[in-house]
Amino acid sequence: MLLPVKWLGEYVNIDEDSKVLADNLTLSGSHVESIISLDKGIENVVVGKIIKLEKHKDADKLFITMVDIGEETIQIVTGATNLKEGDYVPVALVGAKLPNDIYIEKTNFRGVDSYGMLCSLKELGYEDNIIPKYQRDGIFVFDKEYPLGTTVDKVLGLYGEIIEFEITPNRPDCLSIVGMARETAATFNKKLKFPEIKVTNEVEDIKDYVESIEMDKELCNRYYTRVIKDINIKESPLWLQIRLMEAGVRPISNIVDITNYVMLEFGQPLHAFDLDKLKGRKIIVRRAKDEEKIKTIDDIERKLSSSNLVIGDEEGPIAIAGVMGGMDTEVTEETTTVLLESANFNSKSVRLTAKGLNLRTEASSRFEKGIDPNLCEIAAERVCQLVEETGAGKVVKGKIDVYENIREEETIKLRPEKVNNLLGTDLTTDEMIDYLERLELKTSLEGDSVDVTIPTYRLDLSMEVDLIEEIGRLYGFHNIPIKPLVGVLTRGEKSYQRIVEDRARTVLQGMGINEVMTYSFISPKAYDKIKVEVNSQLRDYIKLINPLGEDYSVMRTTLMPNMLDLLSRNYNHGVTECFTYEIGNIFIPKELPIKELPMEKKMLSIGMYGDLDFYDIKEVVQILFERLGIKGYEYVPEKNNPTYHPNRTANINHKGKNIGTIGEIHVDVVENYDMETKVYMAHLDFDEITRESNLERKYKPLPKYPGITRDIAIVVDRDVLVGDLEKIMWKHSEGLIEKVELFDIYTGGQILEGKKSVAFSITYRSYERTLKDEEVNIIHQKIVEDLEKKFNAKLRD
């Protein structure tokens, strides 16, 4: 909201610098976003009168003017076509400075000297969007005579500041000059001065123009009308136009400008209908019929429904209530009589209508936020007053005011003790009362408490705590002496789950893996890209009703697509090696469509490409599990997971439960992600990992007795798994095997086709005694025999 400080000054004395004003208003709750200076740095531009205007003999499109600037008359050549002799115009003299660093020099147009320039509003620094349409294509012509030679800054008010505020949604009353004047008065403890609103010369009777008003009481709280006749539609006086432009509103014509002026002043949107164009003499505020149509003043035909409120005459709709008027009854240059509407529409209805029609207007956004219905009368009367004062027309006597559910002032009980208890202050009751009264709240002391009467325009004050906030903000939050919390000292805690997660992050980071984070929603197409079967549970995803496009439309049930996406992005950016992990949620519905909150399951995904292979990612998982104290899991070949390579993938089983999959990504999937490299991935159930983790560590005595190491080299079928061979070795351990290490795998050469040679080094150790060769030999022999039996293994020398 733009607040011109000069305008504000009409309702409250302003002696303060605008910066001081802005800072203090910010601290009392009206957040200043910027301070805009009206001074545009214009120098040597004065009011001049065109006393002679003739065509340039040698240039079709130029005119030579003689301009009286008070002390002298100067000759200026101009291309403007909107001028006539007698016009008062802004004259930039030789040596003048205009906005955007334009300097005026003496020039010569085809043999004629020109001692300056006549200016348009744009040349004087006004923005296109607020320059009146009738002023847009030419030199600005003043509305009346001003002393010649006066600098234009003075006439146009190009001094002082405009303050831009961010008004919070609970304070729609502050979206007006009067509202901000109230805030200013309260903040600086000043008196408000309101204009006296009165209409003096009323003629005829409104009954001669309007018979009756019918009103839908559900969607309209009040409908207040007046009639103005003998209107001469023309430009508004300059002071009024300047006010509007300073507040960011484009002047249109006197009647419309006055309604806009009052809207800015009091915050009440108003509308003027051309009364002569109304069919019949009844106004009906009603729900639209389904499929009913209206052409609005922006020349667009709009289709309505019964959820929209319209203003109708006896034939059809003439306005969409609180949103926009109809084109047929719009005020035009020919208008002589208007019906002035000052109404209060249901905020929800206006919001839904504006949204449904995709037609947000100044009026609709004000109605949406809420307006005091008692304002209707004040605003309408103020319009009438200004109509009279500016000679725009004659006000017809009488009003029609339909208003049944009258909004009345309410009283709230305030306990001063509660104020200090919540704010942590030591204010006296008198101080509190002072702050409340500065805000024009009436107070009366009732024993230990204060009864506070709330003006009807303060829609935000309904509870005691609301008043505490008012006292707090006027006292100034910045003045509250800060105090540490008191009470029992407690230590902050983290859940075990988060501790495990932190540990996992540390371990993964230590292994050189980068952490990533990706969106919780993905594209449903991702499931095709990773080749998930049509009937897979992974496809039981939760859909958003209103996604930002298909790419973000379903809640992920796997972290894999995001990981593949980012690996692909890195790959295609030329990053040669990528090793990343993400810990994030997947969303598992209990049923579809969901009726209750889904399960959010934490997963760990690790993805990589580059100079790495399956065993790198497996090692990562192994080290992670070791560090998290997870034991007793095994890797089982997985041939049927369509996302992965059928011969390079394993499920990780723990206590009979699958807690994750690791492997090389299937070449088809890699291709779907535009990569030409081997990609490896691990996808693990982190909730399960947390459950099975054990971060406690018990000391185990260091070995005192020497170990015995025996190597064993065997030839087995190529398909035999090393893990299965190792299992046999451990099976016969009798608690004496400390370590089994694979140190060689060999195929080809002397090894027969379809066979492989595998060599292990087994370390035996006892913690109680020095092992004897004989007892190790017995175990070793058992292992060899079992390997021969189970895997047809042949011992090599």
């Binding site: 903000r473 509250i480 230590r491 990533v516 939760i542 930002l548």
Partner: protein, 341 residues
């Protein structure tokens, strides 16, 4: 004669020792002169031919010479060893400007690192860390937080919905409701996490972003306590010289409500172009005293208990901290970006 012979052996031996160049040769010389079958021994073997008087003298001389040669050998051996060591060290010279790149430490995502830093800071201030779900009910996300029924933030154009009653949480504030419903005062928690709003991706917006929420509920908790907590937190996070400014603001779930500005990160409050000359970095966090309706919605007696809540955008804090100018970078996960932190 024998004496001459011995002297000659000595001279020869010492001369040989002086010109030694390897440990092998040293051994050979030792064997040759003082070994069991060496020259000195063979001379001594001829002692029988000497007179009784001469024998001890020559014997003495021979022993002296042996000793002398052995000493010389020992010195020479040390020298040689030293020389060989020096040569080896010289040969082992490397180019220390060459870099090996086999070991690597992974990088924490800057945003998650910020969350961890903030959480740890609050833990040290006595707050417990809790989590809440990303998918929430309309009840917890809006209704229980006193959000007006017609509030635009509830629109489909602002919030992602799954059903009429279930949505992607638009802030971390529903965790407050969960905490108050599940725990009994005193409550002192923070909760960080993902939040979602219907915003198209651009330099400063993302449909997914992050917040950290804090809540304290106890008897006699005041606005002055809230301000102290925030002040301590800001000073711990950004430095002791940072000031905070509490501006009245409006949130449906707190009353009074305030926004907190912090000294401009660039000029530390002096005023510069980045802060439009105000000296403040705007709207770092929002806070306020928990609205009595919210307390009552969670079954907490608002006459007995009061409390405060605060929330902040972590993406923005992360970006300010690291000078990141585009929020997209946080979610693109380009290795070249991640490895800067």
């Amino acid at each position: 004669m024998m004496k001459d012979k011995l002297k000659k052996i000595k001279e020869e031996a010492i001369s040989n020792i002086n010109s030694l160049d390897s440990l092998d040769n040293l051994e050979r010389i030792r064997v040759k002169y003082v070994g069991k079958k060496g020259e000195l021994t063979s001379v001594l073997r001829g002692m029988g031919k000497l007179s009784k008087e001469e024998r001890p003298i020559v014997g003495q001389l021979a022993n002296d010479i042996r000793q002398e040669i052995e000493e010389e050998l020992s010195i020479a051996k040390d020298k040689l060893k030293e020389k060989i060591k020096e040569e080896k060290i010289e040969k082992e010279k490397i180019d220390i400007t060459i870099t090996k790149k086999t070991r690597k430490l992974g990088h924490r995502h800057p945003l998650l690192a910020t969350i961890e830093e903030l959480e740890n800071l609050f833990i040290s201030m006595g707050f417990s860390v809790i989590d809440g779900p990303e998918i929430e009910t309309v009840e917890y996300n809006f209704d229980a937080l006193n959000s007006p029924e017609n509030h635009p933030s509830r629109d489909l154009s602002d919030t992602f919905y799954i059903t009429e009653d279930i949505l992607l949480r638009t802030h971390t504030s529903p965790v407050q409701i969960r905490a108050m419903k599940q725990m009994k005062p005193p409550i002192k928690i923070v909760s960080a996490g993902r939040t979602f709003r219907f915003d198209d991706v651009d330099d400063t917006h993302s449909p997914m972003f992050h917040q950290l929420e804090g809540l304290v509920i106890d008897e006699n908790v005041t606005m002055a306590n809230l301000m102290h907590t925030i002040d301590v937190f800001i000073k711990e996070l950004f430095g002791k010289d940072m000031e905070t400014r509490f501006r009245p603001h409006h949130f449906p779930f707190t009353e009074p409500s305030a926004e907190v500005d912090v000294s401009c990160f660039e000029c530390k409050g002096k005023g510069c172009p980045i802060c439009n000359g105000t000296g403040w970095s705007m709207e770092l966090l929002g806070c306020g005293m928990v609205h009595p309706k919210v307390l009552e919605n969670c079954g907490i007696d608002s006459e007995k208990y009061s409390g405060f809540a605060f929330g902040m955008g972590i993406d923005r804090i992360t970006m300010v901290k690291h000078g990141i100018d585009n929020i997209r970078l946080l979610f693109e996960n380009d290795n070249r970006f991640l490895e800067q932190f």
